[in-house]
C-alpha cells in the first residue's frame, strides 16, 4: 500500500528504540486488530507470511511475534451491542485463587506448555530488512486477574506470602519465555507489556511494585542488555512515580504514552534524554475524529517528539477494531510523508 513511499529498514527502528536519531521516524504498534488488517489487505491476515506481507505493505520495519500459552483463565465475555465484538474482560471479583488450598489446586501453566512455533517460523521467513520483536507480558496482570482485583487487594495485606508466591509462579513461566526468546538470534527486540497504572495514578503502591513486579522487569531487561538489543516496556496510565524504577530495569523505550495520562511534551522534556518513546497518538481520536484532525495530530507528535529522534510513531494503545481505518492509514501516511529527514 505504502511501499513506494519507504522501504523497510530495521536499523531505523533499532536506532530509534535506543533513543537515537535514524534516517526517518519508524512506525510501531503493539497490536493491530485482525478486522483492520483484513479491511486493508482485502483478505484475512492469518499466517506468518501474510503478517509479514501486511507489515511490509504499511512500511513497518518489524514483525512482532508472541509465544503462545493460555493465561487468560479468569475472563468473561461481553456482547457489545454497538458492534458485535467478542471481547474478553478480566474479572475484578471472581477469584480462582483466594487461599493456599485454591492455590495448590490451581492448574498453573508450565514452561513446557509454551508454544514457540510461530516465532520459529517467523525467524525463517523474516526478510533481511525487517526484524522480529519478541513480545509477551502480564506477570502482574495475570496475578491479579487470577485472584480477582478485590481479593488480590485484600490478600496483598492479609496473605502477603500467598501473593508473593503467585508472582513467583506466574513470573517464572513468563520470564522463561523471554529467556527463550533472548536465545533466538533472529529476535532483535524484547517487548514486555503489563499495565500497572490508571489514567489517575498507579494501581497499587509503588513499594509493592518494587517488591513484586520490578524485579521481574529487571530480569527481562538484563536479558536484553546481555544481548545488546532494545527493550520496550508497555503500560497504560500515569507512570511518573515509577519512571526511575522503569529506567533502572534497563528499559530503552516506553509505550504507549496515553495522552490522557502523560503529556508527550512533558515526557520528552523530563525523560527524553534517558528513554525512547513509542506511540502516543490518541486511540480515542483515531476512533472518532476525521482525517484532517489525525493529520494535524500526527504532525504535532512529529514536531514535539520526533524531530530529534527517539520516537517511534503509533497509537496510544493499539489499533483496535473500532477505530476508523482511514484515520489509521492517515496517521501512517503522515509519518511516511513528513517524518523523514
Amino acid at each position: 500500500m505504502f511501499q513506494k513511499m519507504r522501504k523497510p529498514n530495521f536499523e531505523r527502528l533499532d536506532i530509534t528504540l535506543r533513543n537515537g536519531k535514524a534516517d526517518a521516524i519508524p512506525l510501531i504498534e503493539l497490536g493491530i486488530h485482525p478486522d483492520i488488517k483484513k479491511e486493508i489487505m482485502g483478505k484475512p491476515v492469518i499466517t506468518v507470511r501474510e503478517d509479514i506481507e501486511f507489515m511490509r505493505s504499511l512500511c513497518y520495519d518489524f514483525l512482532k511475534v508472541q509465544p503462545r500459552i493460555d493465561l487468560e483463565l479468569n475472563r468473561k465475555k461481553a456482547e457489545d451491542e454497538s458492534k458485535a465484538t467478542d471481547r474478553s474482560w478480566s474479572s475484578e471479583h471472581d477469584s480462582l485463587v483466594y487461599d493456599w488450598e485454591s492455590f495448590e489446586a490451581y492448574p498453573f501453566p508450565k514452561r513446557e506448555d509454551i508454544d514457540y512455533s510461530r516465532l520459529e517460523e517467523a525467524g525463517k521467513l523474516i526478510p533481511d530488512d525487517m526484524g522480529i520483536i519478541g513480545q509477551y507480558g502480564d506477570i502482574y496482570t495475570t496475578v491479579w486477574e487470577t485472584m480477582g482485583f478485590e481479593t488480590f487487594s485484600m490478600l496483598m495485606y492479609e496473605e502477603p506470602e500467598l501473593v508473593a508466591e503467585m508472582f513467583r509462579r506466574i513470573g517464572d513461566v513468563i520470564f522463561s519465555m523471554f529467556e527463550s526468546m533472548a536465545q533466538m538470534d533472529f529476535v532483535k527486540v524484547l517487548w514486555y507489556s503489563d499495565d500497572i497504572a490508571y489514567s489517575s495514578g498507579l494501581m497499587v503502591h509503588p513499594d509493592f511494585l518494587r517488591e513484586h513486579f520490578f524485579p521481574w522487569l529487571k530480569k527481562i531487561g538484563d536479558l536484553a542488555s546481555k544481548r545488546d538489543i532494545p527493550f520496550i516496556y508497555h503500560s497504560d496510565g500515569v507512570l511518573y512515580d515509577v519512571m526511575d524504577d522503569i529506567l533502572a530495569c534497563g528499559v530503552t523505550a516506553l509505550h504507549p504514552l496515553e495522552p490522557i495520562s502523560m503529556d508527550i511534551g512533558e515526557l520528552k522534556e523530563r525523560y527524553g534524554h534517558r528513554i525512547a518513546l513509542c506511540g502516543g497518538i490518541d486511540v480515542d481520536q483515531l476512533a472518532r475524529a476525521n482525517t484532517d484532525t489525525i493529520r494535524e495530530l500526527t504532525r504535532k507528535y512529529i514536531r514535539i517528539a520526533g524531530e530529534n529522534g527517539g520516537w517511534a510513531a503509533g497509537s496510544s494503545n493499539s489499533i483496535t477494531e473500532y477505530l476508523k481505518t482511514e484515520n489509521y492509514l492517515t496517521m501512517i501516511e503522515t509519518v511516511l510523508k513528513e517524518g523523514g529527514r
Binding site: 461481553a78 456482547e79 457489545d80 488480590f152 487487594s153 485484600m154 495485606y157 503502591h205 480515542d284 476512533a287
Partner: protein, 222 residues
C-alpha cells in the same frame, strides 16, 4: 482522641475490626466495628457517628487517594471499614431525612464489563452519605432509564472503559431526555473526557472517585 475521631482515624487506616490483619500495626486492636459500638454505648447519636466519624474518615481517604498517597487496595479496606460501621447504625437511621445526602444511580454501560472504577465511585459516594443504586456492569439502556424514572431526583452516573462502549452513554442520555426525564447525568472512565461529556450533554465529568463525590453534590444542588 474522642470516639468519633477514633472512628474517623480507623476508617482512614482501613481497620475493620479487632480480627482484621490490616493494617499490620493495628492488628489485634479494636477496629471501626468495636469503636462504633463503644460510641453507641457512650450515647453518641447514630447521626454524629455517621457524619463526624465515618463520613469525615472517607473524606480524608478520598483526598489521600487523589494525591496518590494511597491506592485502590488501601481505599478498599477503608471502604469496607466504613461500610461495617454504617451497617451497624443503618437500622437506626431509616427514615431520618437529616442524613440523606441524595441518591445516585450507578452503572457501567452496555457492552462493558469493567467496574473497579464504578465500584470505587460507589464506595466513595456511600462514604459521603449518598444512597447508591448500583445497576452493575453491562447495563442496558432500558435499565438506566427505568431506574431514573423510579428515582427522578437521583443523579445518574455512567462508567465506560473503552471508546467503543462510551458511545452508549450518549444513547442513554438521548433516551432519558426523549422520555422527558430530567435526572442529571455524570460520567467517567478511562477514555472519557470533559469534552466528551459536553458533546453528549452530560452535566458532569469526573476524573476519579473522589471528584465524583463533590460533582454529585454539585449536581444535586444545581
Amino acid at each position: 482522641m474522642d470516639l468519633l475521631k477514633q472512628i474517623e482515624y480507623l476508617v482512614v487506616r482501613g481497620h475493620i475490626d479487632a480480627t482484621s490483619r490490616y493494617p499490620k500495626d493495628l492488628e489485634g486492636e479494636p477496629g471501626v466495628q468495636e469503636k462504633v459500638s463503644d460510641a453507641l454505648n457512650s450515647g453518641f447519636t447514630p447521626q454524629d457517628i455517621l457524619m463526624k466519624g465515618l463520613i469525615c474518615g472517607m473524606g480524608i481517604v478520598g483526598e489521600k487517594y487523589e494525591k496518590n498517597e494511597i491506592f485502590v487496595p488501601e481505599m478498599l479496606f477503608s471502604a469496607k471499614a466504613m461500610k461495617r460501621g454504617l451497617n451497624q447504625i443503618r437500622p437506626m437511621l431509616v427514615g431520618d431525612v437529616s442524613v440523606h445526602v441524595g441518591t445516585v444511580i450507578l452503572g457501567t454501560v452496555q457492552g462493558d464489563m469493567h467496574d473497579i472504577g464504578k465500584n470505587l465511585v460507589g464506595m466513595m459516594l456511600e462514604g459521603a452519605g449518598f444512597d447508591v443504586i448500583d445497576l452493575g456492569i453491562n447495563t442496558p439502556v432500558s435499565k438506566f432509564v427505568d431506574t431514573a424514572r423510579q428515582y427522578p431526583e437521583a443523579v445518574l452516573g455512567m462508567s465506560a472503559l473503552l471508546t467503543v462502549t462510551m458511545k452508549n452513554m450518549k444513547t442513554v442520555i438521548d433516551t432519558l431526555r426523549s422520555s422527558g426525564l430530567k435526572n442529571r447525568v455524570m460520567i467517567g472512565g478511562a477514555p472519557v473526557t470533559q469534552a466528551f461529556a459536553d458533546e453528549i450533554g452530560a452535566e458532569g465529568y469526573s476524573l476519579n472517585a473522589n471528584q465524583a463525590v463533590s460533582l454529585a453534590k454539585q449536581l444535586l444542588s444545581a
